[in-house]
Symmetry: C2
Subunit: 217 residues, 2 copies
Amino acid sequence: MDPVENSPPATALPPDQEIRARRRLLEAAIQIFDRKGYAASSVREIAEAAGVTKPVVYYHFGSKEGLLVAILDEAVRDFNRTIDAAVARAGSARERLVRLCEDVYGLFERNVSVARVAHMVFLGPRDVAPLYDLMVLERRLRDGVVRIVKDGQAADELRGVDAEDVALAAMGILEGCQDRQMFPELSQVGHDGLRRILNLLFDGLMIDRHAQGALTS
Amino acid sequence: MDPVENSPPATALPPDQEIRARRRLLEAAIQIFDRKGYAASSVREIAEAAGVTKPVVYYHFGSKEGLLVAILDEAVRDFNRTIDAAVARAGSARERLVRLCEDVYGLFERNVSVARVAHMVFLGPRDVAPLYDLMVLERRLRDGVVRIVKDGQAADELRGVDAEDVALAAMGILEGCQDRQMFPELSQVGHDGLRRILNLLFDGLMIDRHAQGALTS
């Protein structure tokens, strides 16, 4: 708002270098927040890790909180694009749902540090004011799954169960698999594992209904 | 180890009052860790909230870390008892699996503050030394589910899929439902919802196999 506050600092760089400095600051902040936690991280060490001075941080982001918000804004934008593209895709509801889950799993895989920072913010102490409404991710994913399930029900492909229940089942499976990525010491299910586990949900676990097909073959 | 260090402080109480003081300290620590986070909580305020002096905390728990470990030890013990009882239960694999998930969901429901503290410790900054191996819970639950699934496969009740995959599917659904309990602003699925969503996994989502049953009726 204030042109004086938002004007470049004395150390301002040419525009392309400024864009690169901004990107380096975001990357440095993600790594440092992830390693030390948000509260224990300082603007000074983030600036140093990005090879810039503190005024450059304040020029681009205003504050440490501004850096965190910029990181989460970018994550939410990528997430929303991924969901929208998956919902808009052609194909059976089953294919679209599996692809949606795989795409979200892949996005998480490429941004594990951001995911860990987001989890810390989200599950942090209750009397630290919530810095960011990450529930938007949950709602957007659920709405995407519900939309695809309803398409599949309208096309007589999927049973007429509660689409919100299906969303909770699919999201539970997806999140159970992707959350393991935050713990490198755990064996990772990978894209194949995720697809296999989602197929259990589509095909069910019971032998009696499965056997009907098997007996006629 | 040192009998002098472990001897009751000058403020020691009669045994029954000491047990109650220990319990009050655990409850106070759970509430304060949950509200402020582990790092920001002090032994002094926990002692005050429990109506005891600081030496009483050190006598029972040794340190703030000792308090946290005692809280988590108790949670792990309750969790393990719940799993063991559910695995030992009679009935079909389907009934046993649903009951196991409901029991764990109910335990979480009665201990949401402890669960939130455990999540904070578990997902805390990576360069804070891990204070407690909470992976034991994950492994114990998975082993319990795998055991029941294998019983169901041996009894020709469940399809011969990878039991570890089934465990990841069931645990994803269970944890997706129970994690919502940490956010009171979300609508809760409750025991009925959990059962309904698990039934989707048992019965599958596809209409073609479902229709085989419907067409013959």
